[in-house]
Structures are given as structure tokens and as C-alpha cells.
């Protein structure tokens, strides 16, 4: 059904999207937690910084990434000399771009759920002998699960659809950075490429539909069940 080239594109998109979302998850959660629970000077600045990739045109985000992580950029140079790692033209760079674009969506979703956690339950856990850490893992985190799953879905969908920052940062290299949206862009450049565009767009939709169904299933398996038994 799919050509080998299309398989490659899909596999790459999944890899980039999956790695981006999973790697961002703990960072996004930490930021969401801090924003939800603490008042400190610079809180609004952090909040604004997180929203930045949403506000700036993706091309600008890609350009900033290029300036920072390119071989001539400060972080890029440092990565190269210390770890021998370069993100240029690599799928890891595409994942970085996708992660940064997904970050604001993930933080917001998780923050909403964290703000909804009943803190008295954390207190109850503490009186039962739970350390703050243990209460976090067993009470706060599971109670924030709906937000975490929403973050996963949003983040994955955004990653799967990320175009502007990726092409600007790591170009459009087949098999390495050419994810679905970039392949769609390429197809759009070819006159009469509409059929190909449609085909690839449907593939994107199928991927995110899969992620959606998976997440709904997860919600039902965890959070949903205890609600259904209620009144």
C-alpha cells in the first residue's frame, strides 16, 4: 500500500515525533509544576518564554535554533567540541525543533491538570508516612494524568505537523529530516503534486488518529474506569 519511500517518511515522522514528545515530557511537566505551584519573581518571564514558540512564526524559531545550534552557533560549537554531536541536518535536530514547538502546548495542558489536583489529598498522604517525593509519585502525578495524556496527544500531533522550524533549522534531507510535513511541502512544489499531497496528508491524519485512539484508550483504562463506577 505504501511505497518504501513513504514508509521511510512515516517511520521517520514517528521517530521524530515520538522522541520529541517523550524527551519533552519530563521537562514540560517540571515547568508546568513550577508554574502551577510556585509564585516567584520571574514566573511570568518563564511563562512567556514557554509560550514563545507558539507566538513566533515557526520560521523564526527555526532561525533562532540555527543561530544557536548551528555549527557556528554557541551551543552548536559546544556540543560539537565536547560531545562530538552535531544536530545539523540530523533527525535529532528535527526532534529538537518539534520538541520546542510542542513545549507550550504540553506545559499548558499539564498545568491545567496540576492546578486541579486537590492538595488536601497530598496532605493526607503525608500523614500516612509518604515523603513529599512519594506523595508526588503516588498522588499528585496520577491525579494529573488527564493533563499528561492530553499533553502527549497535543505534543505528538504538533510534532507530526511541525514544518517551518524544521525546514529552516535542519533543511529537508530525505531519510534524515524529511518528515511528513516536509514531504508534503516538497510535493506541493511540484505542479500537479496534489494527489501526492493528499496521500501524504491522509497519512499524517492516520498517524495522529492512531495517537488519539491510543490516548483515549489509556484514559479509559486509568482515569475513566474509576469515574464510570461512580455516580
Amino acid at each position: 500500500m505504501l511505497s518504501p519511500e513513504e514508509w521511510e517518511i512515516v517511520a521517520l515522522s514517528l521517530k521524530v515525533g515520538g522522541v520529541a514528545v517523550l524527551a519533552t515530557l519530563p521537562i514540560a511537566f517540571a515547568i508546568a509544576w513550577v508554574l502551577a505551584r510556585y509564585r516567584f519573581p520571574g514566573r511570568v518571564v518563564l511563562d512567556a518564554l514557554v509560550h514563545l514558540p507558539l507566538v513566533l512564526p515557526p520560521v523564526v524559531t527555526g532561525w533562532l535554533l540555527l543561530i544557536a545550534f548551528g555549527p557556528f552557533g554557541p551551543i552548536g560549537r559546544w556540543l560539537e567540541s565536547w560531545f562530538g554531536v552535531s544536530l545539523m541536518f540530523r533527525w535529532t535536530g528535527a526532534a529538537l525543533a518539534a520538541a520546542i514547538m510542542a513545549l507550550p502546548l504540553m506545559v499548558r495542558a499539564m498545568r491545567l491538570s496540576i492546578e486541579g489536583v486537590d492538595r488536601r489529598l497530598e496532605g493526607a498522604a503525608r500523614t500516612l508516612g509518604a515523603s513529599p517525593w512519594h506523595s508526588f509519585w503516588t498522588i499528585s502525578l496520577p491525579l494529573a494524568l488527564p493533563g499528561i495524556l492530553a499533553a502527549l496527544v497535543l505534543g505528538f500531533a504538533r510534532s507530526i505537523g511541525e514544518f517551518g522550524a524544521t525546514i529552516t533549522f535542519v533543511s529537508n534531507i530525505p531519510g534524515e529530516t524529511r518528515t511528513l510535513p516536509l514531504a508534503i511541502y516538497s510535493a506541493l512544489q511540484v505542479p500537479g503534486g496534489e494527489a501526492m499531497v493528499t496521500r501524504l496528508a491522509l497519512l499524517s491524519v492516520a498517524l495522529s488518529l492512531g495517537a488519539l485512539i491510543l490516548s483515549e484508550w489509556l484514559v479509559r483504562r486509568t482515569h475513566g474506569e474509576r469515574q464510570r463506577h461512580g455516580d
Partner: protein, 232 residues
């Protein structure tokens, strides 16, 4: 086997360059890795130190910028291709118009808009603006322009009937069934449309020079000609 050279090329070269790369690979060379994007994005990547071998820009200005940054290999810059500008209309349109001095473009547009690549930013748009200025009609249509992201997007506006007329490259118009070429702009009405090519200083792959030479060879040029590009 050695990896093929990494070629950064303007998006409008997608079909023709892919064909040329396949022909090159058929000769037993490692297949070049082709990355298509806007010339501006590619030039920025080069200037940020991207490890690429060959750069094909859709205009001279971005190649100049890369050259100024000292990132071109000396003596390898040359003009690969030329192109022409055409006036297009939706396939169903009856409009008749020949681009010439003082032609009745504004009247033909009526209340509609003229689809262009962004005349302040994108090469195709800059050429179109130059041509219309040269023909003395720019001032009468400047307020009716619909600047698009790139040539293909401008063409899509015409294809979908959003704009009754548009100006795009001949190579683009040729390949679309949904638009009709109304007329071709005189080559003298705008600066020559040139696609420069150059090897990059960062290039480490020996084959890159060979591929560049192949593109400039008779066989290479024939492939581009088949896609409607003119010789420079």
C-alpha cells in the same frame, strides 16, 4: 561506498534536479542527497555552518550573501539556468493580453488581484515587480497585488480562481493544467533570471565537483531544458 554530495537547492528545482541526480546516479555515482527549501532558508543554513556540498540558489542575491560570508569555494560559482516570467490566468479565463509597454493590466484585473510571489522578498516577485515597473504599469497595479509566500502559492491563487491573473515562472506555469499562459514577458523587461550554483567551502565529498560539472554538461542542461528552463 562513499556518501553522495549534499545539495541544497531552491524548491522550484525539485523535479528537474531530482531527475538530474537520478541520471548521475545511473552512471554509477553515489546518489546525491537533495534538500529542497526556500533559497533564503538554505543560504542561512550554509551561513550557520551547515556541512553541505553544493548550493543552487533561485537568485543571485542569496548567493552573494553566502559569498560575502566567505563560504563559497573560489572559482566554482557559475550560472546554471535561466527562466522566463509569464502572465497566467485560470484555465477557464478568456482574457487576452500581451505584456508590453503600458499594457492594460490594471483594466484586465478589474477589482481582482494580481497574484505574485512577494515582490519585496521572494525572487520571482522581485523580477515581476521589475518587469512591471519597466513596462510602466507597476504604479497602476501596485495596490492590487496579492503577495504570496512563493511562486507555487501564487499559482495556487490563480488555479483556485482567487486571483484572475498572476505572474510566475514559465517552468511553473507549464506544468499546471489549471492555468493558462496569457503571455510571456519580454526578456528585456527584467534583469536576467539566473540560478547560480557553487561548491561550498565546507564540502568534503570529492564527487561534489563532479556532480556540479554534470549539471553544467550537455546532458545535464538537456534535462533542465526539458522542464522548461532556458540556458542562462
Amino acid at each position: 561506498q562513499e556518501r553522495g554530495p549534499v545539495v541544497l537547492a531552491a524548491a522550484s528545482l525539485q523535479e528537474s534536479l531530482t531527475e538530474a541526480a537520478n541520471a548521475w546516479a545511473a552512471k554509477g555515482h553515489a546518489k546525491p542527497v537533495l534538500s529542497f527549501a526556500a533559497s533564503s532558508a538554505l543560504a542561512r543554513q550554509v551561513m550557520a555552518g551547515a556541512p553541505a556540498d553544493l548550493f543552487l540558489s533561485a537568485d543571485e542575491e542569496w548567493m552573494d550573501a553566502v559569498a560575502k560570508a566567505g563560504l563559497l569555494r573560489a572559482g566554482t560559482r557559475t550560472t546554471l539556468l535561466g527562466n522566463r516570467l509569464v502572465l497566467i490566468a485560470p484555465a477557464s479565463s478568456q482574457v487576452r493580453l500581451t505584456p508590453a509597454r503600458g499594457f492594460a493590466l490594471a483594466k484586465a484585473l478589474g477589482t481582482g488581484r494580481l497574484a505574485l510571489a512577494d515582490p519585496d522578498a521572494v525572487p520571482a516577485g522581485k523580477y515581476a515587480k521589475a518587469a512591471l515597473t519597466h513596462l510602466g504599469v507597476w504604479s497602476s497595479v501596485a495596490a492590487k497585488v496579492a503577495p504570496a509566500e512563493n511562486v507555487r502559492a501564487a499559482m495556487a491563487l490563480v488555479e483556485r480562481g482567487a486571483a484572475p491573473l498572476g505572474i510566475v515562472y514559465a517552468t511553473d506555469a507549464r506544468a499546471s493544467k489549471a492555468v493558462r499562459v496569457v503571455g510571456t514577458f519580454p526578456a528585456s523587461s527584467h534583469p536576467p533570471i539566473r540560478y547560480p550554483v557553487a561548491l561550498l567551502k565546507a564540502s568534503r565529498i570529492k564527487d561534489a565537483a563532479g556532480f556540479r560539472a554534470f549539471l553544467l554538461s550537455k546532458q545535464g542542461r538537456a534535462i533542465f531544458a526539458r522542464h522548461g528552463f532556458s540556458a542562462p
